[in-house]
């Protein structure tokens, strides 16, 4: 397993609080990695450390074989792009202008808008399906459209590694699928290594091919969803009782939590024998 991005013996935290101690993480090259775990388990902190937004107290982040601190800030920004949890679009800025800001690490005082920049911005807007909105004001767009615009900004950066901090939070299910399908299309090109912090487990297991499960600042399990996800693992990570069934559409693991107040019915529908399973596609 090769890895362009790895954390070695990482200790990270904020102010007086240590979030993770001696963390070792490897992101497989070309993977779509989902980081899962309960709130405040250190997922976003790990992502911030991997993207050098947070300086570790000990250990190091290795990017393309070198400590990330050995690169200049712009050099890192040409190799690794991050979609932060929250960004502010300045009032009245157009989609094209916002996306073009992703070219900053490729520009200089004398070269502020090359033909390359123009091509990359157009390609990023086309890939995310926002090219038709290029001249629209960002604050007029829907939540899903806006998230695709932010993704376009990171894509315009043309980095082989993309880190996404909760890209689907606050989006409804349609927009979640929209954003994650886009991530999968990027992953399918084979040109990208994607790492996303995701809260929706079923979405994570459906779209990602590699999962890092975290709890209390430690990595509990890593591997392909099919290999590592069990009711025991999810139960232990989130302190819940649940069952794991195959996703009726993709066959990937799907987590169904049990209700503490109402004990589960012992008879689970046998999904494989259930011919009457309705899908929204059929009923529509």
């Amino acid at each position: 397993m090769t890895s362009t991005l790895a954390a070695q013996g990482l200790t990270v935290g904020y102010d007086g609080r240590v979030v993770s101690t001696d963390l070792d993480v490897e992101i497989p090259t070309g993977s779509f990695t989902a980081i899962i775990g309960p709130n405040a388990c250190g997922k976003s902190t790990l992502l911030r450390a991997l993207s050098r937004l947070l300086a570790p107290r000990a250990g190091q982040v290795v990017l393309d074989g070198k400590a990330i601190t050995e690169y200049s800030s712009r050099e890192v920004a040409r190799r690794l792009g991050l979609l932060p949890q929250s960004s502010t679009a300045p009032d009245g800025i157009t989609v094209a202008d916002l996306v073009s800001r992703g070219r900053f690490p490729h520009q200089s005082m004398l070269r502020q808008w090359s033909a390359d920049d123009e091509r990359a911005v157009l390609a990023a807007m086309t890939a995310t399906g926002v090219a038709d909105l290029a001249e629209h004001a960002v604050d007029q767009l829907s939540g899903g459209q806006r998230q695709r615009v932010w993704l376009a900004l990171v894509l315009a950066q043309e980095t082989p590694v993309l880190l996404l901090d909760e890209p689907t939070t606050f989006l409804d299910i349609a927009h979640q699928i929209e954003v994650l399908s886009l991530c999968r299309r990027l992953h399918d090109t084979g040109d990208y290594t994607l790492v996303a912090v995701l809260h929706d487990l079923n979405m994570a297991f459906r779209y990602a091919d590699h999962v890092i499960a975290m709890k209390d600042g430690r990595v509990v399990a890593t591997g392909a969803p099919d290999d590592i996800v069990t009711a025991e693992l999810i139960g232990a990570v989130y302190d819940i009782e649940c069952v794991c069934v195959p996703d009726p559409v993709t066959g990937r693991p799907m987590v169904v939590p049990l209700d503490a107040d109402r004990p589960a019915r012992p008879t689970r529908p046998a999904l494989n024998d259930a011919p009457a399973l309705t899908t929204t596609r059929e009923t529509r």
Partner: protein, 358 residues
């Protein structure tokens, strides 16, 4: 790709107008025709107002006499003296004070992501005043000492505000505004206290300084603010694009390779120095730093106030205010600081009643 119709944003403004591209070999820039046009128009305005300022006063001159005085091609010694020794220093002080305040205002409003984040609101001008008043009342060592104390007062105030508003290496925008307003009110009280402790003559001269004035400006008032502006503007302009990115949030800017805290510190030091130098030259000239960038945003329809245009706008505002103070039908000449305070106060109220955010 079909040309999409430009939709107004939620504030009802049209989206920023399209830019043009200039490319030659490895060089490439984007420029905004509208912003360039505004800069040209403001330059012309400053020139026209400048000639008017130079031509009017106790001794009336024609524009051609003004030009002749400037170029030295006149035999009229009085006209030459009036033009080059009295009116030109006054005009240039007004121009550079305005340019400094406009630029500094644009920088601080961008850093704090808030129109109220301008140096006159967040206490820096008051801090300069404290320095100057303390010098006049406690030491009384002359005009140069007052200017130096004003610069020192402004810088120290900025340092205190920066230290109090930065938390874990991050200077929050709104935090900066609130801390600045707090520090500013304290310093205003200190200023009053100093005045009440002073002898009548010192109190008078301090009051005159506090009103902000362009009267009796000589070349010694022009040089510090002019040199400061010319030296600091390139530093600020070079970081303009970083400023753009930082408006998206610190994380977004840092992931694009901007060293956010360092950039912010350099910009703040440069902008505070500009404010302090301007205040040292003309006293506290209120509201120009607040109004100039806001006016530029509206006229250029930009997302952020373009820095150079804000400098031009600031210069135009101060020169216009100076012209007004000299021509209002009142007996006493109103000090420039009071005039901009009057106009700017009205503008601030209008801004506040229209804003949905404050």
């Amino acid at each position: 790709m079909t040309a999409a119709t430009a939709l107004p944003d939620s504030a009802g403004r049209a989206p920023a107008p399209r830019s043009r591209v200039f490319r030659r070999g490895p060089l490439s820039w984007r420029w905004h025709p509208r912003t360039t046009a505004v800069c040209v128009a403001l330059t012309v305005l400053v020139l026209v107002l400048g000639v008017l300022v130079m031509a009017t006063g106790t001794i009336q001159l024609t524009p051609s006499e003004v030009l002749a005085g400037l170029t030295g091609r006149t035999d009229d010694a009085v006209a030459r003296k009036v033009v080059t020794d009295i009116r030109l220093p006054r005009l240039l002080t007004a121009v550079f004070v305005g340019a400094c305040l406009g630029t500094a205002g644009a920088v601080f409003q961008s850093i704090s992501r808030n129109a109220l984040g301008s140096p006159d609101i967040i206490g820096f001008t008051t801090g300069s005043a404290t320095g100057a008043v303390a010098q006049i009342v406690l030491i009384n060592a002359g005009a140069t000492a007052t200017a130096v104390s004003a610069v020192a007062g402004g810088l120290i105030t900025a340092l205190v505000v920066y230290a109090l508003s930065s938390k874990g290496g991050v200077t929050g925008g709104f935090r900066l505004v609130l801390v600045g307003i707090g520090v500013g009110s304290m310093l205003a009280a200190v200023n009053t206290l100093l005045l009440s402790r002073a002898g009548i003559e010192q109190a008078m001269s301090a009051e005159i300084w506090l009103a902000g004035s362009l009267n009796a400006r000589a070349w010694e008032h022009v040089w510090p603010v002019a040199v400061g502006f010319v030296a600091l503007l390139p530093v600020i302009l070079a970081l303009g694009r970083h400023l753009d990115l930082m408006e998206m949030g610190d994380d977004a800017a840092r992931q694009l390779g901007v060293r956010v805290e360092r950039t912010r510190l350099v910009l703040m030091v440069a902008a505070v120095s500009m404010t302090a130098l301007a205040t040292a030259s003309a006293g506290p000239v209120a509201f120009v730093a607040l109004a100039a960038p806001q006016l530029v945003v509206r006229v250029t329809r930009s997302v952020r106030a373009p820095l150079a245009s804000s400098a031009f706008m600031g210069a135009a505002l101060v020169v216009a205010a100076d012209l007004l103070t000299q021509h209002l039908p009142v007996n006493a000449a109103i000090p420039i600081g009071r005039m901009t305070g009057l106009l700017g106060g009205a503008y601030l109220l209008w801004l506040l009643t229209r804003s949905r955010q404050v």
